[in-house]
Symmetry: C2
Subunit: 444 residues, 2 copies
């Protein structure tokens, strides 16, 4: 997804670069990406999007068409535009591996590069990291709510465009979903595909049972029948004799889907109808405006539900559709820097996050400090790129998914409730506090 | 943006198509896209995304790579996959022009095509139409709040991926924004570009005033100085002598930007400092977590603000990040169809929306009815595609923007308040009610 080109950026990156070019400013800059505050109601976040961020950095270049357009637009000098033709990302990157749980003010990615390169990439790096982190964090909550039930991403249609659809399929799988309805995402990342049928399939037939039968005959090994087009329980009752008939031809009905009304109540009634008809092996899958809280409620009510199709509200992180995240200059030309804007001040310098685990392997507290400090715990940011090239191929998505699952298992019990947010201890080390005072002193 | 391929769809579209293929079902189907309910707090929506939807339909085809993958994945028959190689969209489309104001249950797009084509395109059509409509509707509210102040889209970084960033720049411009910071969107659609500088630009310099001077010298005709990196009013006071110095070289400071703290209060103090320094021509631009309600409050408080950079909350439509929209089968093989699911029932048949205007040219009421009915008012859906080809090129974005502006001018006063939603009269005509009863009768 680096194919969007170098111009997918804010104009101010280019106007700043023109001024840096005119002044000959291009010393080493250190930028860090972090979330200033967790969204209300969230106790943790899950890092995601690093693979696409590195793809972008490795492929960054201005096309001839883009350069010609920049020259024509009249805002930039020919010499500056010529310099952009040569621009590549040549810096180094350290980052938390995708799937790592993190908290406010903890950098999950650090860029060290010549100022112009490090500045230019701000916009797209934020764009890639915030969205997948947002969705992975939401999807992890749905996974916590669903325990071991089947969870499928159904959100392609109401995701915000094509890339959001693809990246939210990836991010939700990474965070513990079992698969996606998104065929292109399945092809691209080898994510398991799930799909049932739409109401239109039933409506296009004059007879609902005929529709079920046609579908099962075309998909003898993977079929989920949608029951709620007209009357859910009436539809369930037609499934019983149909299953008997199909069974004679070696075809097994796998599952039914409920998509409207009181899902817990319908699931109970449908379960009873199916069980009475000898179809206890047919599972019940539900969908329709679901999120972690409705999944939690359905299961708490004891609804006999085997799987959930979770769409829009997960893919758009509907209750919190963005993160208060930034990419900030922390050092330039060897000197630590700091922004002091009201309510938006930052911690200066090259930082690292150290995490301690308790005897049970649960997260017990983080320390935010300078890179060369050595508080207790293990460092979370690791080198991933040098001289503009990855140090190793990005891990396969399956491996990232395994890491995320292990991270969720390490969450302390205090952070697990979904309805109330709890704080996790992140200490700012004395070394970092001292540097902050020194920077303030110097710039007064 | 049709380049995402035919596999950007839900798996169930393909499993249904396999069954239709096996049954030889491919009669003419009529699908309509509409919003079931307006989001809470919204009184109207603005249609957008038609151009991209038609691009998609015109370019729809499965690539060799996609076909090979479908064959390998083991879910589809070779004969069916071979049939997909030939699949093109050959149908007709009627739609409301982009920029048209519309309401719940009013179709804004209707597809009439062989069943398989009409079904396959559901996912991406919803994906394209819902997102731009969502953003255009949000942006129109910001425009109503801002009256004639400058409005710039600043949301690229926290938009949900690349396509969301591009399409939200387009949709917000369409709905009345003056431009965008998104350079690629500017290049693609000739949208005016706006940009200032980041805090990092100030921080990379050791002296804030030197940073301002460098920037102004590099951009003598378009410069906006960011004041809040350390102390907003102190920065404003340095602008006064700097402006005098630059003026000797023929350079004029155009504007300043405030991005944190109490924007109304800072704007007043900065205005006073600038005016006292003879800089009444320097305009004040503000940004930072803005939306229609903060813009409305700032202007109601009399804050001397000339322009707003509105980002994340507009681009993600943060308070309502999705629409309850659907694409439903309304007729198949000449017979009207209807879904009766609880809370999700639809009106059957090929429909049209007729709008009446009052003597002042304001919207006075709509009628939802069958296409061949003739209630008072003018029809809003117009033919845009036949046999899979556009009837005319899509209008230039400037023309769409003009139409949207005219539409907003036609809003009745009851729909203009942003803080409370009001209902607009949409009547379901007797002809449509009669058809609905007939369909229900027949399927009992």
């Amino acid at each position: 997804m680096g194919e969007t080109g170098a111009l997918l950026t804010d104009l101010y990156q280019l106007t700043m670069l023109q001024a840096y070019f005119d002044q000959g400013m291009n010393d080493t800059a250190v930028f860090e990406f972090f979330v200033r505050e967790l969204p209300a109601g969230r106790s943790f976040l899950v890092a995601a999007g690093l693979q696409q961020a590195l793809d972008y950095l490795e492929s960054l270049r201005f096309s001839d068409e883009e350069l010609a357009w920049l020259e024509r637009c009249g805002r930039f000098s020919p010499g500056f535009v010529a310099s952009l033709a040569e621009l590549r990302f040549t810096g180094e990157v350290a980052a938390m591996p995708e799937g790592t749980v993190f908290f406010a003010n903890e950098p999950i990615l650090r860029v060290i590069a010549p100022l112009r390169e490090a500045q230019l990439v701000e916009t797209r790096l934020i764009n890639l990291l915030q969205f997948q982190t947002l969705v992975a964090s939401k999807a992890a909550r749905v996974r916590l709510a669903a325990a071991d039930r089947l969870l499928v991403d159904f959100g392609l249609r109401r995701a915000h465009g094509a890339e959001a659809a693809l990246l939210s399929a990836r991010a939700s799988y990474l965070a513990g979903f079992d698969g996606s309805s998104n065929v292109l995402a399945a092809m691209r990342w080898d994510i398991p595909m799930y799909g049932t049928m739409a109401h239109s399939f039933i409506q296009a037939h004059t007879d609902e049972t005929a529709a079920f039968e046609h579908f099962a005959r075309s998909h003898p090994r993977a079929n989920t029948l949608l029951l709620d087009t007209y009357d859910t329980e009436a539809a369930a009752r037609t499934v019983v004799p149909l299953a008997r008939k199909l069974s004679a031809d070696g075809i097994t009905i796998q599952a039914v889907r409920l998509d409207s009304g009181d899902l817990a109540e319908h699931a109970r009634r449908v379960r009873a109808i199916l069980d009475a008809g000898g179809l206890s092996g047919v599972s019940i899958f539900v969908s329709g405006s679901l999120d972690e809280s409705s999944v939690e409620q359905l299961l708490a009510a004891g609804a006999p539900i085997d799987g959930f199709g979770v769409g829009t509200r997960m893919n758009t992180s509907a209750d919190r559709p963005y993160l208060d995240c930034v990419y900030k200059l922390q050092e330039y030309a060897g000197a630590a820097r700091r922004k002091r804007s009201e309510g938006k001040a930052t911690w200066p310098g090259r930082k690292q996050v150290f995490r301690q685990l308790d005897a049970d392997g649960r997260m017990a507290g983080d320390t935010l400090t300078l890179e060369d400090d050595a508080p207790p715990g293990s460092p979370l940011l690791v080198p991933v790129m040098r001289a503009g090239r990855r140090l190793a191929p990005s891990p396969p998505l399956q491996a990232v998914r395994g890491h995320a699952s292990a991270e969720l298992a390490r969450l302390p019990d205090t952070l697990r409730p979904l309805s109330t947010a709890a704080a996790y201890p992140v200490t700012v080390a004395p070394a970092l506090q001292a540097l902050t005072r020194a920077v303030d002193q110097k710039s007064r």
